[in-house]
Symmetry: C2
Subunit: 385 residues, 2 copies
Amino acid sequence: MGRLTGGDPSLLRRINSAVVLHALRGADAHTFTDLTRITGLSRPTVEGVVEGLMEGGLVVESAPEEGEARRQGRPARRFRFRAEAGHLLGIEIGPHRVAALLSGLDGRIIGAGSREVSETAPADERLDRVRTVVADVLRRAGVARSNLRAVGVGTPGIVEADGTVRLGTALPGWTGLALGDRLRRSFRCPVIVENDANAAAVAEHWKGAATDSDDIVFVLAGLSPGAGSLIGGRLHRGFGGAAGEIGALHLLGRGVTPEHLLSTTDEPLHPLDEQAVTEVFALARKGDARAQAAVERFIQRLVHDVGALVLAIDPELVVIGGWAAGLDGVLPPLREELARFCLRPPRVVLSLLGEAAVATGALRLALDHVEEQLFAVDGTVTARR
Amino acid sequence: MGRLTGGDPSLLRRINSAVVLHALRGADAHTFTDLTRITGLSRPTVEGVVEGLMEGGLVVESAPEEGEARRQGRPARRFRFRAEAGHLLGIEIGPHRVAALLSGLDGRIIGAGSREVSETAPADERLDRVRTVVADVLRRAGVARSNLRAVGVGTPGIVEADGTVRLGTALPGWTGLALGDRLRRSFRCPVIVENDANAAAVAEHWKGAATDSDDIVFVLAGLSPGAGSLIGGRLHRGFGGAAGEIGALHLLGRGVTPEHLLSTTDEPLHPLDEQAVTEVFALARKGDARAQAAVERFIQRLVHDVGALVLAIDPELVVIGGWAAGLDGVLPPLREELARFCLRPPRVVLSLLGEAAVATGALRLALDHVEEQLFAVDGTVTARR
């Protein structure tokens, strides 16, 4: 705290730069006069800071507006944030597909691509597929790899801070994989790896079903469900990055394994066999009693899993995503049971981003990383929307 | 952010006061020289600030140390924080007892008292009992009621920010009770009301089994368990104050009610009948098969509840408190099951504070409130411990 009163001039310069950059990104500030008014800084300070940002390539002078040029006198100089000064990738590496989204520094998506991959593919093959998708997306958008400022990745499993997959049973060869290091060979910029449900939670909060709440639980529903939560707008990863990994909940004091949940025979379903699962749901809709019982079991399990998350965390909003979200009849029983048993039931909605949620969240995490560098000053000032 | 550069002199004065007060409370700073060194402030600033704190009654000049007085020249002036400048109460209002702890501004306990109360007592009677206990504690410690700076209260139920009990089924007449308002009639200082398990979590972190961790779940085990959690050292109350209220978890997709869990007959146990519960546990130890089965059910339920909290939140440490914590055989099966089913099992320990946990946490919350006023400056600077 003592430092706050010390008056470090370089710290002040950085704070002022962050303030001005933030105002320029915010849209309606384009002239020195605008910036002076919005930031509360003096005109000479604003001019000096803008000069520095232009040298750094983050700000550019733009043409005066039509109307203004025609007015009397010299038009005011106008500036804009250069979103194209850097690019970001959000990548999903899932059991069945890899996908990538590309954006500029403003987070607006300017490229996308995906490829299917077998759930049995070894890690090397899966990473090859990632490289192919990324190369394709960059080529089509005409963006040089060297222009990437950060890459975010969402993938199943418990992910360490350095991007190593501590435990990831959903993908072959995933547990123990130094995924961050492997990807850093392909990219010269920072690579942030995050659990897929966590990434999806961030995505729904950014531009999905949860933009109006800072306290959410996102459930990636499936045969082995995972969840991600935001508390006060911040991702809650848990002490060891395992928060929301509720796959084993039903095993605590119960007998049913997930593979048997939706099975209509004595044979378990493969946990990733979405095709078989979809067939069971279709059969149930047609009135097949055995399939209906299986669907009932599946929904009970989902209710129980979501209920546990809600009772433990007490979010304002629950967002249901993942493949189960596309299946009929999941929301009504969920809402009904939560209303019955939760002391303060949350709202329950379906994901708006659907399949794009994980890659979108990964992109947002990459953007967060870059914005921290652009806007944060020793953790004391963080300018986010 | 612009304000940071504006140089508000009164803001600076407040920051400096907080810094100096914090250093004085910290123990080893007693002289102007100490304070100048530790805070990084100039000697004249430190002198001015100490002067102001003495006027405010928070700091007092103390006698020079023995050795120093004998040295050559005038001994350096010494100062100390006046913990006795104000007092705090931590109160537990539970189903069977009310209890109160009294401390000075340093949080050191200087008085304690408790009384039994019937679980069927109406709200007015319970509050009367609270007033009796408080009057008794204050009188014995010789502390005037007017010297109280804040009162913390821990009680079962979901508690609103203003101290109203939104839902509290454990105590008669508790749901809807404006508990904060009722108690503010007895005290002229701020009254902070908190859920009992939340208060206990704060207590174990302050001076119990969780002083070495900032990411904990405290489980108030019993027939209707509740939990409180700290995330990054901060109490996680949930969006509606209901986080950790996992009493209904077993009902989501299950059939057993808590009252039947430990029953050895077809008659349910009263959820608060600790005596009957203790007898069941005693019978089980003597080899009674039916009691053993009941205890087994109870432990399975606890494992499941704690498992849900752990999977959702991923704490570093789980602290088991409440009456069940005193019963044999709870920890080993808990640890074993969590190790089997959690991707990253937490440490599991018993409460160190036992019966005192809720009142201790309530006291800490009162202390937090006062420290925020003493040390915080518009939420930008918070100096704790």
